[in-house]
Symmetry: C2
Amino acid sequence: MFVAINYIACKAHYKSRFEHLFATRAKAIDRMPGFIRMQVLRPTEEGHEYLIMSNWQNEASFKAWTKSKEFLEGHQRGFKDLKAAKHAGSEPPMTSTFRTYEVIAD
Amino acid sequence: MFVAINYIACKAHYKSRFEHLFATRAKAIDRMPGFIRMQVLRPTEEGHEYLIMSNWQNEASFKAWTKSKEFLEGHQRGFKDLKAAKHAGSEPPMTSTFRTYEVIAD
């Protein structure tokens, strides 16, 4: 099983908006071939990163998702917030580090 | 849902042993009340950390596990390796960073 994790450092003022985006997500990813599940993890300690984790049957399924129209649609609101900050000359409300994994035991 | 993640930086010479420990784990954790699942994630890129992740119904279930005799039994071989390295005056074969999370969307 293939796992993709986006580690998100979220500015304090953006946290409620960030959480709202996932609470009201379109769930387009759930219908992608090879999708197993996704979870958004909120750190229990201040200053740590959120994790957006998705589990896939294999890497190819994940890559197909990142190239799909559903991916763009699903990220539309977040991308818009990032663009708005850039346009206003503000720091981005969130920054991300992306890493991938193979499940070797469960 | 509560999630505990141990981020493990593993020395190159210890990786096969580390993976073996999980491939042959006792599965005592699977029988603990409140346990949902666990996964061990191997990074796809050299130099990144392994993730040992466990999902629980709540934090109390997780804490009960860390105080159980099953926890000590389950970690016996890894703890032994760490002690042996310390005794030999070597660097530890693995180091860990522990973080906890709440699932806010799935």
